[in-house]
Amino acid sequence: MMNRERVDISRRDFLIRTTTAGAGFSLGLYLPLSSAGVLAAGSGSSAVPEVNAWVVIEPDDTVIIRIARSEMGQGTLTGLAQLVAEELECDWSRVKTEYPTPGQNLARGRVWGSFATGGSQGIRGSHLYVRKGGAVAREMLIEAAAEAWDVPMEECRVAESVITHTPTGRTTSYGKVAAAAAELFPPEQVELKNPKDWRLIGQPVKRLDTVDKLTGKQVFGADLQMPGMLNAAIRACPTFGGRLKSFDQAKVRKMPGVRQVVRVGDDAVAVVAETWWQAKTALDALPIDWDRGPNAAVSTASIEQMLDEGLDSEDAFVGNRSGDAGKALRGAVKTVEATYRYPYQNHATMEPMNATARWTEDRCDVWCPTQNGEAALQAAAEAAGLPIGKCEVYKIHLGGGFGRRGAFHDFVQQAVLIAKQLPGTPVKLLWTREEDMQHGHYHPITKARLVGGLDEKGDLVGLHVRISGQSILASVNPGWMSNGVDMFTFQGLLPDGDHAISYTVPNLLVEHAMRNPPVPPGFWRGVNINQNAIYLESFIDELAHAAGKDPLAFRRRLMANHPKSLAVLNAVAEKAGWDKPAPAGVYRGLAVCKAFASHVAACAEVSVDDGGRLKIHRIVAATDPGYAVNPQQIEAQVEGSFVYGLSALLYGECTIRDGSVEQRNFNDYPSMLINEMPEVDVIVMPSGGFWGGIGEPTIAVAAPAVLNAIFAATGKRIRQCPLKNTDLRSA
């Protein structure tokens, strides 16, 4: 429904902060400090009325497209703009973008829909209504031109922001008729283009947000500066569930720049100073006494015990059942059993958590990098103790999200709780890397025991997968569970839907024994498909080996009912040359998966030298996301997901001791570097008819394909991640 209410949201009140420090230095940061401000993600600053919620066109034909979801590197800003522009028929070279604020979204009956940016939903979750938004604006612009010319709309054509009256050849541009269009009622119905007529969707156009990232101009949350702003550094009790007992502020009160030392909630203390470095220096010197609480004895070993017990327990939730797996396994000619384990991991976004807040008795404003502006607004209002209508959140560009900045706004709440103690003063809270490492919402921990049975022909007759471990939803969003079951735990193993298993197993039982240690879990890039694909795809390889069959042929026999998954698997096998020998010393491994509605597969090529050093030479990856909005950005996402997934495979592990995460920084929580990066051969093969995700699905296949290749190279079946804990020298 288009909203005819005229809300003046194109008025922008920006304060410009200029820091001058000697000749030749000046830096302007544009900050919207007014309640009605809309933060420009591009550099639009027009005062013209919007055509509709999605489109503003300036007299000079600049097109400003509003983007509700957050750009955090995944390219959604550009992809969503392509969707709107396709229907709008505007000149792409004149397109800019901006973020509406979450407060405006609420005030306008959520005209922009959801702001949540996660689950690879940016494009697939909003393509329909954003394309409609573009089409409606186009119709209004044509109608305005037709009215001015006093001709029927049907006689007008439009392309590249130019409207032509076909019979007379008269032309006008969007910029000239936009003001008149804004006065019109939107059409009730619009027809969307047939995908075969798309001209912009499907094109590898360049991102709209690159240039400022090359010069240091791009402002991230951590970079904000405002007049009169103070800086805060924080420390929360490192033990999960612990509390702040006391702190001795006399010891640091006189240190340079220090303004205040404040309690933040019941578990943290912050130093507020003129600069962040001063705040952090004083915080390091602050004596703090913690009440470590009930989890002080929790360790990796104690959590392991919980999970082991879950592997054997009588009770478990069922995620997928067909036939009778128990009977099939008892009757099998050969059975194979293996137990796998996947650890806790931090998101480790390059930009640590941060938020800037200004609180007064009747207003609270927050500037922050967030994957969900509306959730950030909710968190801000709660912490501020103010009605949501008196609060606003301005989304600032994110230095990475990966799930950390979507469901959790602990950093926003802290910033507001600090700002509340300095009414009227903007305070920027920035976490240290150490704080970020110890106060994550971690990739959950699980183990899995798999038992598979083969018949005399070596075909799979039964499979039992018992997962034991942590549920994200039980901790984060119990409302999304059904009867206590967290179906999200079964990502990639479900009977149908976006995360369906890619095989037909005649007798299948997939279960989850939920065991929730007191370490906060969270959504993560891919999340549960990461380990579920390792469990299933490694084990399928184990079964193929036990059956004496080629891993590709073994999989194919189970995939007759999964033609799209089979197609991506075949594509990688063909491109990698599966049926031909690999170069000497190089070994291959396969993996396939359906995740976030996309079908993905990978073939990894690795070598392992006598010293056990692994080299990943190349990964051929295929993805069928249904529709491919921007193929070059899909390639970038596939490569990026491999870096995240392979970093997890090689190094990613948070261990627990005394109820705290033991890792502190990138020295003990490493991430892969360019010298470990394989060549990535991306096959984008959209088959149409559905909309699948892009940012996450391929992460699932990187690790199992590499693990299977390592087995081919060494004969070692690795069932523990990360690899840094395993000696890869051949058995």
Binding site: A21, F25, T349, M350, F666, E679
Partner: protein
Amino acid sequence: MAKLKINGNMLEIDVDGTTPLLWVLREQLGLTGTKYSCGIGVCGSCTVHVDGEAVRACILPVSALKPSQEITTIEGLSADGTHPLQQAWEELDVPQCGYCQPGMIMSAAALLNENPSPSDADIDAKVNNICRCGTFNRVRRGIHLAAQIHKGASKRERS
């Protein structure tokens, strides 16, 4: 008081000498293109040049710098954003979130300063910045492309 030459400007800055260069740049001078991520010299987000060489500003106290040393930040890499690396990065759409990119570009620029046509092995050895978004393959292509752009430009200058 520290006396520093930054992006060609001689500056006197009222700051405790133990403060790392990173925070002087970001907080005293408003040069926020240089990023904080680890603060322990591991990730490379804070990479700047001192006399053309890559250094990690988060572990470099300003007291260790002499006024004669030329400090260059991402803001001073080129006057107008047209350093060959910036051109190549734009051409290949290298950045994702972009947070690591100023450091990545400064590391690559230092490499090109000493080696105008680096091999893959040279890149592996010298560009050891963390990028959690995973831009490595485009970074590699970007460095090779920048080397070509640079070569083309110097050829044009000579002729």
